[in-house]
Structure formats: C-alpha cells, structure tokens
C-alpha cells in the first residue's frame, strides 16, 4: 500500500518538473572598425527619397568591396563641390554638370554610371509649362515665374540659359517676373504642375520617372524645349583614393548585373547595369557649357 502511494507521489513530482525553459545566448558579430567610404548624393528627388533610393545600392557595393559605405545627402547641387573635400567625401554620384565642375576644381575621377531599363545611359534637359498656361513661344514667357533646379545642373539651369541665349534674351532676370531654384528636379516639376511657377526645367529621367507614378504630369504639362544628351548621374571618386578601392568599386558596379543579388538591387534602383564612364563621355556637357559661354573653372555655382 505504501509503495503505491510513494510511486504516485513520485509521478506527480516528475510531471511537475517537466516545464523546463531553455535559454539561448545571442552574440552580436562586430564588424571591424574601419573608416567607411563616404559617398555623397545630390538632391535629384526630395532628399529623403533620394537617400532611400541609393541605400540598397550602397549596401550591396559595401558588401562586395568589403568596406562600409556611408551615404550623405546634400541639399544643394553646388554644395557637393564645396563640401566634397570639407566633409571628407571619398566619392559621390554627380550630375553631369556638377561632375564637370568638380572635375575642373578637384580633379575627381569618374568610374561608372547606370544604364536605364530602356538602355539609355544619358538624359537630357526639358523645359515645360502647364498646357493651360497658354505659353507657346518664348514671348509668352516674359513676365512669368521660372523655376530652375540648381545652378549646378545641366537640365535645371544650363538648358534654360541656352534657351534664353538662343532666343536672344540677354538677362532673364529682368525678362522674367521671378526665378528661383527648387533644389530638386521633382520640386521643379511639381511647382509648375501646382502652379507655383509658370515654367520650369528638369531632367528627362526624373520627369518620366515621376510621370510613371503621377499621370497628372503628362496630362497637364507640355514640353517646349530639350537639351542635348548628357551622361546620367555617375559615381566619381576623389583622385587620391586608393587605387585598389577604386578598382574594387568599379569592378563591383560594372559586374553587378551578372550577380542575382546585384540584379535585384539594380532593378529596384531602376537600372539595367552600370557602364564604365570616363571624362570623355562628358564632351556634350563641355560643349554645352561652351555654347552658353560658361567657364567651368570660374563658374559660380552657388544659387542666387
């Protein structure tokens, strides 16, 4: 009898001891503290979207070359030339104009630029108005508000300058009621669409990228002028960057379309692949600058 009781009690003890919790230790893997490559971005879109667009690319490249990449956004196109040295940047995605400026002033070296899904590695500048603005010719522009992007952009400033020059307008500031720099191509387009300005200039890639998302753009805007083709925003690095890193960066970018991960990143970025780029590719920009009598070495790219 006693035995039965004992075994019964034992059973209870054993069953109650079955709720054992397991603990696991998680360890954080620390990456070597190495000075990251600082890459600058120009405000093509609004600054938050811009950084979000480039982050996956930067992450992928850093993984490939084994060096951390930190992105920094600049609120002005021209800032990139000024801040390149002071902020200690190792490279940046330059617009065609800002590249030529930085190349002239700092001797930066261009590596690669993206090829869009359409197979284009270039863009062009556009001048557009609202269809309901009644602006047809340059005469209609007089006394209107013109929105530029930045003095250091081909599409957002050099094109309007060339437009005014071709049409014999010597001082656009007096010819027009008001001009201002929206800072981003996106803002320039939307300012015209939202009637904050009567006429605007922006680059074709941003224009059509936004037009894909927002049908109002095609519906309400009309293009009245375009510039020659210039290279798409390219990655250029400071000339004293270690050659090995330079090569690694170049190799990673140029071969990423052969890698499944890279392909996905490219797809989200909106490109087919990266194309090797040299200073010679910018001949159009130099030529364009010359046409409008712009000396890149002395050009004041700070917005008025």
């Amino acid at each position: 009898m006693r035995k039965i009781l004992i075994s019964f009690c034992l059973c209870i003890v054993i069953f109650s001891g079955c709720t054992k919790t397991e603990t696991t230790l998680s360890e954080e893997v620390k990456e070597p503290a190495e000075k990251p490559l600082l890459i600058g971005l120009i405000p093509e879109h609004n600054i938050f979207d811009q950084i979000e667009r480039y982050e996956p690319l930067a992450h992928y490249i850093s993984k490939k070359i084994g060096t951390k990449i930190k992105l920094t956004v600049l609120p002005r196109y021209g800032n990139i030339v000024d801040n390149f040295v002071s902020a200690g940047m190792d490279g940046a995605f330059f617009g065609s104009c800002s590249y030529t400026l930085a190349h002239a002033k700092l001797g930066i070296e261009v590596l690669a630029r993206p090829v869009s899904d359409d197979g284009l590695s270039t863009y062009y500048g556009l001048i557009f108005v609202r269809k309901d603005s009644g602006i047809k010719t340059v005469k209609d522009v007089e006394g209107k508000i013109f929105v530029f992007v930045d003095k250091a952009t081909t599409a957002g400033y050099l094109l309007p300058l060339a437009y005014f020059k071709r049409n014999g307008i010597k001082d656009y500031k007096t010819y027009l009621k008001e001009t201002y720099f929206a800072g981003t191509h996106e803002d320039a387009i939307y300012d015209v669409l939202n009637k904050k300005a009567d006429i605007g200039a922006a680059k074709s890639t941003v224009y059509y990228r936004l037009a894909d998302r927002d049908p109002e753009i095609i519906k309400n805007l009309a293009i009245i002028e375009r510039s020659p083709d210039v290279p798409e925003n390219a990655l250029a690095v400071r000339k004293d960057l270690e050659k090995s890193i330079k090569n690694k960066l170049k190799k990673a970018l140029l071969s990423m379309h052969n890698d499944p991960d890279g392909k996905n990143v490219l797809k989200d970025f909106g490109a087919r692949q990266f194309l090797e780029t040299t200073d010679d590719d910018y001949a159009n920009v130099y030529k364009y600058a010359k046409e409008i009598d712009l000396d890149l070495a002395t050009y004041n790219y700070i917005n008025d």
């Binding site: 009898m1 019964f8 956004v73």
Partner: protein, 731 residues
C-alpha cells in the same frame, strides 16, 4: 477491488488534470493579459516617441536658419526615424478606426517630409522661402496635434484596460491560492479514504495469514467483498485443503512410520553444506540408540559400524560423493547392547545445479533376518546340489510335453553333456512312455516305471527308473534316474564263469585222478617193459620215449590237480625276505629250458631290512616267487639284470615285493590275459603257472600286477597284507 483502484486513480487523475488545466489556463490568461498590457504600454511609449520625434524635427525646422542649425544628415536621420516609427505602428494589429488614424498620420508625415525637403533644397526669394517654411511648420504642428490626440485617447483606453486586467489577475490569484491550499487537503482526504479501503481488507488477510502461520488451521475469513472477497475465499479454501493435507500427511506419515518399522527401513539425510544430519525414528530403532541422547553425526554413525566394515563404508561414501552415483552398501553394525546386525545402506546424492553434492539422502534397512534366511537357503541349496551331484547316478528332469530338459545333476551332465534348456526326447529309452507314468487325467501314477537299458556304443548298462513328479511351478514333469550297473553285471558274469570253472575243475580233477591211477599202472607196465632184456636198442629208445611222455602227462595232471583242487594253506609266521632269497638262488640254479648260459644274469637284491614277518604259507609263497622268477629267467635268454625288491609299506601295513627283469617284456595285447588259466606263450607251458600265482596271492588277500618297465622288461608287483596271529609278538 481493481475497479475501485481504477476509479480511485481515475478520480485522482481527473482532479489533477482539471486542476492542472485550470491553473495553466488561468496563468496563460493572466500572462496574456499582462502581455497585452505591456504591449499597450509599449505602444504608448512608441507614440510618445513619435511625438518626441516630431517635436525634434520641428525644433530642427526652427533652428534651420539659425547658427544652431543641425546638419542636414541629422535632420534626415530624425525624419527617417519618424518613418520607422509610424511603420512600426502598422506592424501591430489595430482596429479599423486606429488604422485609419495611423494612415492619416502617415500621409501627414509624407506631406511633412515633402515640405521639409523643399525648404532644405529650395533657393528662392525670401517671401517664397518663408511661405515654404510656414507651410512646413504648419504641417509639422498638425502632425504633432494629431499624435497628441491619439496619445490622449490611447492613454484613457489603456488605463481602463489596465485596471480590468489587474482586477482579473488578482481574482485569478485568489482562486489559485484557494486551489493550492485546498488541493492537497482534498487529495490527502481522498487518498486516506482510498488507502483505508485498501488496507482494511489487507489487515484482515494479514491477521488471518498470521493465525494460519501460528498453526490455526480452523480460522476462516468472512465479510470481505470484491477481489479481497475472492482472496478470502481462496484463503479459506487454502486453509481447508491445508487442513486436509495436514491430515493426509499425518496419516501418510503414520503409514510411513508403520511401513518403515515393518520393513526395518530407516531414512536419513545429510546436509553437506550446513553439516546437519537427520535420522528418522526407525534409524534409531535399527541402531538400537536412544533418539534423546544419541547425536546422529557421521562419526557417531561410523562408530556403530563393525570395525572391519568401517573403512569400506567411508571409502564407498567418498567414492559416491565424487562420482555422484547412488550405490547400495551392505555392512555389519554393532548395537550399543553388543548385538550384531546386518544393514543395507542406499544413498542418493542431490546437488544444486551441476556443482558438488550438497545433500545426501539415504535409507538404512536391517536385513539381518533376510541375510540369515538367504544364507540358510544357500546352505540347503548347496547341500542339495552337493548330494545330487555326488551320486554316481544320472538324474534329470524333463518337461513331459515338450521334452525340454529342466534339470540335470553332475553325473547326468558328465555322461550326457549339459543339455539343460535343450529339447531331448528319449534320452535313454522309449519304454517308459508318458502313459506309463501319468494317468489319463495327467496325474502322476504312484508306481515307478523301471527298465534296463544297454548303451551298446559304450557297453554300459543302466537301470532306469522313471516317474512323474510335480515340478516347482506346478506342472507335471518326467524324472528319470539312470543307475549304471555295468560293473555289477560284469561281476555277475565273472561269478558265473568262476562257477563254471570250478565245476570244470572239479570234473577235470576227478578225470585226472582217474587218469592218474590208470597212468600209474601204464607207467609201471612200460618201465617193466623197458627193463626187458630182449629189447632192441631202437625199441628201448621208443619205450623210454613213451615213459617220458607218461611222466609229462603225470606232471600235467599233477599241475591240473594242483590248480583245480588247491592244497589247503598252512599259515606260519614267515620272513618273506628269506623265502625270496632262497627262491632266487634255487631258481637260477635250475637248468634253463632253452638257454645254455645262465651266468650272464645278474641279480640285484634290495630287501627291506625292516620287513616284518607275516602269517603266510611259505611253500605257496615260494611257488609264487618261483613262477615269476622262472618267467623272468626265460625272458632273459641273452642275459640281463634281475631286480628283486621288498618294501614294508607302513601306512597300509602291507609288504610289497617287486621282481623285474630286463628281458623282452610282455606284449600289450596279452598283458591282461597272462593271469588267465591255460594261457601261455610257451610251446610246452601248461598256462597254469601265473593263474596259480594269482590264486595263491588272492588266497593271501593280496594282489599281483604285471606291467612293462619304461626301460624294457617286465615288472611284477605283489602286495600282501601283514598278518599276525593273535598274541604273537615279533622277536
């Protein structure tokens, strides 16, 4: 009972299961409620963070154009934090209202972001710039107010929920306390009742078992139910059968005791491991020892064994232990009262597994009477066979129907061969057929069938007596007794011949007497005639020849008369040595019948000087010696050695006389006939010499024998008993 146990265990398990389930679910509910609360508080915290972040961005906006302006990267980080936070809000589950509100906030944030980006990138105149900045600020303020509202609302909700949850938890706690407090008592109470219901009948059973153990076979268990009832019934049955078995055992024990007493069979056991001994009561009776004082150890046992048998007992015990064979030993024992008995010991060796013997069990049986009976039986058997086998008569028994020989005595086997167990019909004869010895009712006839049987092959005569007797197994068998009376038959023939010879002798003597008288007249007449002067020399020679022939007839007649009508013996005390000595001298001086040279015969005398004198007829004995000596002389025509020897044989009180020669010996063909009358090898012999010799010796109660010596020549041995007249004393 099994049902009870199952039900009890079932109730216990159910109670524990229910309690467990209840506790687990309450704890689960409480923790999930607490979890929810914690989550709500976290959300609260997140919202607060959102608010703080908005305020931070707003402050960034305020400071933008001042010298405290933060870097664009910092502002971007702050704004992006806003994004992250609002995105994290969408990760939780929300009601439709809250979701709408959150979506609204997110749109506001997007708007705010757009405005912010604008004021950071735009380069325009002051009014445009300010307008942009105002717009951005306003958007930020709206956002702030919206979030603040949201927080307020959520806080109220949260408080309510917190209170409800805490109340629930405290209720749960109370119930748990109650359960934890009452549970063990309830379990203990139930357990006690359950155990009690188990132990009570077990105690009853235990008590009963103890009583049974103490020998109370009459105790019975009542008033138990379930399986315990069955156990009780079995127990009662067991008690009954135990009682019956005890009774049976007691009875059989008594029977065993009686039987072993009657058989004088004792039983013993020897535990080799624990060195313990056991003797049954009869063992003590057999050994004549007192069970109260005698200790049955092996040493004590050995002491009771006859000293001559002790070693063999010990040896055989040791051998049996080693070989593990059971064997029977006979030994003599000497009881304490000095009586000697014979016992038979049998032992069986038991062992655990295949190791050494661990236990010996055995019996001791007093077989003294049996042994004595056996010995008596054996003695009588030996006596019987000795007598029967010593008779020179054939006795055998055969089956009356099958003719199987059932028994033969030694004589029968000797003559007929061992036929026991074999089938033989008409061993001797078929005269005494079955109908002569049994009645038609197959009963033995009282009269005995007797017949004679002549075995012509062996020239033996048997008198056969046949009768039917009842055999050991009850059947009627034929017993034949065949007595060999050949010798008697021969004796009778001899007697008849002797009688004839006597008659012939008497007749011949009468005739010889008549012839002798006539011959005396003829002889005188012829002698007268020979002395006639006128006779020619030739006639005279013829007459002389006739006289010689008449002399020869006279001698023959004299011998015949002598043989046929022997002279009466005159016994005088005689020295045989002297008689022999004189006879040798005389016989050798006699002219030999044929030989011309007698000097070549050498005589060797070997006389016993202690030869006693005896009563005999000296003349007749001389005649005997003369006959033998003359034969010896005749046998040695070419000369030789004659040995004469006398010897007194004290044991038989006889005188032995041996006369041997080195002559040609006696032919084996005739050696048996030489003592017969008228048997002679000599051309002019009468054939009566040795016959007379034999008769004279026979008249002296002696014997005479003739044989050939191994080296050649004949040997005659004469034995005559020494006889003395009453009162005669040797000088």
């Amino acid at each position: 009972m099994k049902k009870k146990i199952i039900i009890g265990l079932g109730i216990f398990s159910l109670l524990f299961l229910l309690g467990g389930i209840y506790i687990i679910t309450t704890i689960e509910t409480a923790t999930s409620k607490l979890d929810n609360l914690v989550k709500l508080h976290q959300i609260e915290l997140l919202r607060e963070h959102l608010l703080i972040q908005i305020k931070r961005v707003q402050s960034d906006l305020h400071l933008k154009s001042t010298r405290y302006a933060r870097g664009i990267d910092t502002v971007i980080t702050h704004v992006r934090n806003l994004d992250t936070m609002i995105d994290s809000c969408f990760q939780c589950h929300h009601s439709e209202d809250v979701l709408d509100m959150l979506t609204n906030v997110r749109l506001n944030i997007q708007d705010y972001k757009y405005s912010l980006s604008r004021i950071f990138t735009i380069s325009a105149n002051t009014s445009r710039l300010e307008a942009e900045e105002d717009r951005a600020f306003k958007t930020g303020e709206q956002l702030r107010i919206k979030v603040e509202d949201m927080i307020r609302m959520a806080t109220i909700n949260l408080e309510k929920k917190t209170q409800i949850a805490l109340k629930n938890i405290s209720n749960t706690k109370t119930i748990l306390y109650i359960l934890v407090t009452i549970g063990p008592f309830l379990a203990a109470g139930l357990g006690f009742i359950f155990i009690k219901s188990l132990t009570k009948p077990i105690n009853v059973l235990l008590k009963a078992t103890r009583r049974l153990k103490s020998g109370d076979l009459d105790h019975r268990i009542n008033n138990l139910t379930d399986e315990f009832g069955e156990v009780a019934a079995s127990f009662n049955k067991m008690s009954d059968s135990l009682k019956y078995s005890m009774h049976t055992i007691k009875e059989s024990e008594e029977r065993y005791t009686d039987a072993s007493k009657a058989a004088k069979l004792g039983h013993w056991e020897r535990d080799l491991v624990n060195q313990r001994e056991f003797w049954s009561k009869e063992m003590y009776n057999i050994f004549g020892t007192d069970p109260n004082t005698f200790e049955p150890t092996f040493d004590n046992f050995i002491r009771l064994i006859h000293p001559d048998d002790r070693q063999s007992i010990v040896d055989s015990f040791n051998h049996s232990i080693l070989s593990r064979e059971s064997r029977s030993i006979e030994a003599r024992i000497i009881r304490p009262d000095g009586k000697e008995r014979i016992v038979e010991s049998k032992a069986l060796y038991k062992s655990d597994g295949n190791k050494e013997a661990t236990l010996i069990v055995g019996t001791i049986q007093d077989i003294t009477e049996r042994k004595r009976n056996e010995e008596a039986l054996l003695r009588s058997h030996i006596m019987f066979t000795t007598v029967l086998d010593s008779i020179d008569t054939i006795i055998y028994v055969s089956d009356i129907d099958t003719d199987e020989i059932l028994y033969m005595n030694y004589q029968a086997k000797d003559v007929l061969g061992d036929l026991e167990g074999k089938i033989r019909k008409h061993v001797f004869q078929n005269f005494c057929s079955n109908d002569k010895i049994i009645t038609p009712e197959r009963q033995p006839r009282p009269e005995i069938c007797i017949c004679e049987f002549h075995d012509t092959d062996h020239n033996r005569w048997y008198e056969i007596r046949v009768r039917a007797i009842e055999w050991m197994d009850g059947r009627i068998v034929r017993m034949e007794i065949a007595h060999d009376f050949t010798e008697r038959k021969k004796m009778e023939a001899n007697l008849r011949r002797a009688e004839q010879m006597r008659l012939v002798g008497e007749w011949a003597a009468g005739l010889a007497h008549e012839i002798k008288n006539s011959l005396a007249g003829i002889k005188i007449s012829v002698e007268v005639l020979s002395e006639e002067q006128g006779l020619t020399e030739e006639d005279r020679a013829t007459v002389m020849k006739a006289i010689n022939e008449i002399k020869r007839i006279e001698f023959l007649l004299k011998s015949l008369l002598n043989f046929a009508r022997p002279p009466e013996l005159h016994f005088t005390v005689t020295d045989v040595n002297t008689v022999l000595d004189h006879t040798i001298d005389f016989s050798l001086k006699q002219l030999p019948a044929t030989s011309k040279d007698t000097t070549r015969i050498t005589v060797q005398r070997d006389f016993d000087k202690n030869l006693p004198e005896t009563m005999c007829d000296a003349l007749q004995v001389k005649q005997v010696f003369m006959n033998i000596l003359l034969n010896a002389r005749d046998a040695m025509e070419e000369g030789g050695t004659l040995d004469a020897r006398t010897l007194y044989i004290k044991e038989d009180n006889t005188i032995l006389v041996e006369i041997s020669d080195t002559g040609k010996g006696i032919s084996e063909k005739i050696i048996k006939k030489i003592f017969s009358p008228f048997f002679t090898t000599k051309s002019k012999g009468t054939g009566l010499g040795l016959a007379i010799t034999k008769r004279i010796i026979t008249q002296h109660d002696g014997t005479v024998q003739a044989e050939n010596r191994p080296g050649g020549g004949a040997l005659f041995s004469i034995v005559i008993p020494v006889k003395m007249p009453p009162g005669y004393k040797a000088l």
